[in-house]
């Protein structure tokens, strides 16, 4: 059930691999048996709610934490014994960690000085790195004369100037205001494209991950939930957690009653009508499963008394069309969000784009409606 769209590039070479990594703090398991490979040149994102272990994973890669079990390979080499200052990875810290007592140029030059690179080459590379992050001429300034966004650029330049194999970014945009964050998203992806270095970014913001990364790993409570491209995560989540964490979703609990190679049917007491899927699924007949339907994939029609139930060509009669009443609606400009209560009492979220200027006035509170969705829209989840 995959629909590869972006991953089709040149044959990728693995640069990082986590092998059965577990990290415990006393009895607390921060990272639980995670195995993961990251390919060269990728913009990879570790996504999850706070406390899910994503930052711990990143810090283990940087060398600030040691795995309790398992090993980490960089370019095929086990780095367990290598201290952070000897690893070919560099990090952009959440607080940027720009040294407050050094100028911008001294900050960027620090890593080069440590490596014993000569003054001339050092100066050239610092200039180059500052130009890369569009901070030409800022060299002599002190960090307290910079804005938050500029400090972040210094942190980026400081890490990139060392030409690391992998650049690690710990919640890089969380400290910026909303407008700047938007702008930095595209700047960061462009920068990654330009330098060609593998980026690994930790974030709790799903929009950020979807917008920037080639591939994302979703984590929850120390466990790796799913590794996929952004569109696969959204359209083909493998668990209720992923479906719910990425975007909004309606989850209907039910029993798998028909399981054929080309179609399946879920009987859900919450919906009141059988849910028909036009693809085969993997699951035992009779087991409890969940149907996940994104709000924007549900269509909403007025239900006029006496009028016939609307028909959809790919929805078999009596399937995927359900009656309800609007209990709440929120007009958000580009779209309207409806809360529709079904006859069963279950509430469904529906998002409808406002395609014309007068569209939104068609529906009102307490209005009876039909809801329908295509047979390909629901995803069946077993966990």
């Amino acid at each position: 059930m995959s629909a590869p769209q972006t991953a089709a590039k040149a044959p990728a070479k693995t640069i990082i691999s986590f092998e059965n990594i577990t990290k415990r703090y006393g009895k607390v398991v921060a990272v639980d048996n995670v195995s993961l490979t990251i390919e060269e040149g990728e913009f990879f994102s570790l996504l999850g709610p706070s406390g899910c272990g994503k930052t711990t994973l990143l810090r283990m890669l940087a060398g600030f934490e040691t795995p309790t079990e398992g090993r980490i390979l960089i370019d095929g080499q086990d780095v367990s014994e290598i201290p952070p200052n000897k690893r070919p990875v560099n990090m952009v810290f959440q607080s940027y960690a720009v040294f407050p007592h050094m100028t911008v140029a001294q900050n960027v030059a620090y890593g080069l000085k440590v490596d014993g690179i000569g003054a001339k080459e050092c100066a050239e590379r610092v200039e180059e790195a500052l130009a890369l992050v569009k901070l030409e001429g800022y060299g002599p300034r002190k960090p307290d004369q910079l804005s938050g966004g500029q400090r972040q650029r210094v942190a980026l330049a400081r890490a990139l100037v060392k030409r690391p194999r992998v650049l690690l970014l710990d919640e890089p945009l969380s400290a910026l205001d909303a407008k700047l964050r938007e702008q930095m998203r595209s700047e960061l992806t462009q920068l990654q494209d330009k330098v060609g270095i593998t980026f690994i970014m930790v974030t709790h913001d799903q929009d950020e991950a979807l917008a920037m990364a080639c591939r994302c790993a979703v984590m929850n409570r120390g466990l790796l939930q799913q590794v996929a491209t952004p569109s696969d995560l959204y359209e083909f989540p493998n668990s209720r957690f992923v479906a719910d964490f990425i975007g909004q979703v309606n989850l209907f609990e039910g029993q798998l009653v028909v399981d054929e190679p080309d179609h399946a049917v879920i009987d859900s007491a919450e919906v009141g009508v059988p849910i028909y899927l036009d693809h085969g699924v993997t699951g035992a007949t009779g087991s409890t499963v969940w149907a996940a339907i994104r709000p924007e994939k549900i269509e909403i029609y007025k239900r006029i008394d006496g009028a016939e139930m609307i028909k959809m060509e790919d929805a078999p009669q009596g399937h995927n069309v359900v009656a309800g009443t609007i209990t709440h609606l929120a007009y958000l400009g580009s779209e309207t969000v409806f809360d529709v209560t079904l006859m069963t009492g279950h509430s469904v979220k529906v998002v409808r784009s406002n395609l014309t200027r007068w569209d939104q006035e068609d529906f009102s509170w307490d209005e009876p409606v039909w809801l329908s969705w295509h047979a390909c829209s629901p995803a069946m989840l077993t966990a």
């Binding site: 810290f93 407050p100 440590v114």
Partner: protein
């Protein structure tokens, strides 16, 4: 109230603008400052009896500047304070780094032991030093200056460096660990990280700690009283012997000089640290 028409009535929490509190503040200020200010004023009084104002004179300052024993004592005090400050800052910074940075067994015990010199009454520490230098490690007499001050210097460092440690440790609490990680991430080793990132962060507290150690050393009478000998007299010990004898304008003049020095040091602390240096930043000081 008549003249204050222009200003609004004090807000409910503007206690400072209420007259009973203002009167109280004035009273406390007079209580704190009147003795010191009269002491300073009468150092310029041209009267040996030191009671009624007879006219301005600098005679007593001249006497002070020609009083060889007082000058020696003052020189001793400054030397002791300077060496004590230097060593205390180094030891205090080490202690702070140790307790802030490392996890090790026995840390709680060490932490408590380091607080002991701060809380143990001065008199107890004084007699401990007296016994130590009398019985265990007799400080050889007749050493050339400033080695003859060794016993006093050692005692002063013992009670000063834990204070410095407290000040430095308080400062380290505001350290952003990511700075250290950034340095390591960029390739710096343990020593380089300390030199390039941690010590620069410590710097203001090192200055504050130095000023504190200097003042504590200069101020100390009791512990010095128990460790000084006839040829190692410090300024407070000398003043003590003079005061016991009588109140003289000469003592007033010498005191005024030290008060001025204190004010200068305080001003320096303010310049470097803001009010925190004078007000907060250091733990209870039971020395008195």
């Amino acid at each position: 109230m008549r003249k204050r028409q222009k200003r609004a009535a004090p807000g409910p929490l503007e206690y400072l603008r209420r007259w009973p509190l203002q009167a109280w503040l004035v009273m406390v200020s007079v209580f704190l400052y009147a003795p010191l200010l009269t002491l300073m004023a009468f150092s310029f009084n041209d009267s040996k009896r030191n009671i009624v104002w007879k006219g301005f004179t600098l005679n007593y300052y001249e006497q002070v500047l020609h009083d060889q024993s007082l000058l020696t004592a003052f020189g001793n005090s400054l030397t002791i304070a300077a060496i004590c400050t230097l060593v205390s800052v180094i030891l205090g910074a080490m202690t702070a780094l140790l307790l802030w940075r490392f996890r090790f067994s026995g840390k709680t015990v060490l932490d408590g032991a380091m607080a002991l010199p701060i809380v143990v009454p001065e008199i107890c520490m004084g007699v401990a030093m007296l016994v130590f230098f009398a019985k265990v490690m007799p400080w050889p007499s007749g050493l050339p200056w400033p080695l003859n001050l060794g016993a006093i210097i050692i005692s002063h460092i013992s009670f000063s460096f834990p204070f410095v440690a407290v000040v430095v440790r308080a400062r380290m609490a505001s350290f952003n660990r990511e700075l250290e990680e950034a340095a390591k991430d960029l390739g710096a080793g343990e020593w380089m990280t300390i030199r390039d990132v941690i010590i620069p962060h410590m710097q203001p507290s090192l200055i504050a700690g130095a000023l504190l150690a200097f003042t504590l050393s200069l101020d100390d009478f009791v512990i010095t009283f128990f460790t000084s000998g006839p040829d190692t007299v410090t300024f407070p010990v000398k003043v003590y012997s003079m005061v016991r004898f009588s109140v003289t304008p000469e003592v007033n003049a010498a005191s005024t000089l030290l008060i001025v020095l204190t004010v200068i040091l305080t001003a320096l602390a303010l310049r470097f640290q803001g009010t925190d240096a004078v007000a907060g930043g250091h733990a209870p000081d039971p020395k008195a």
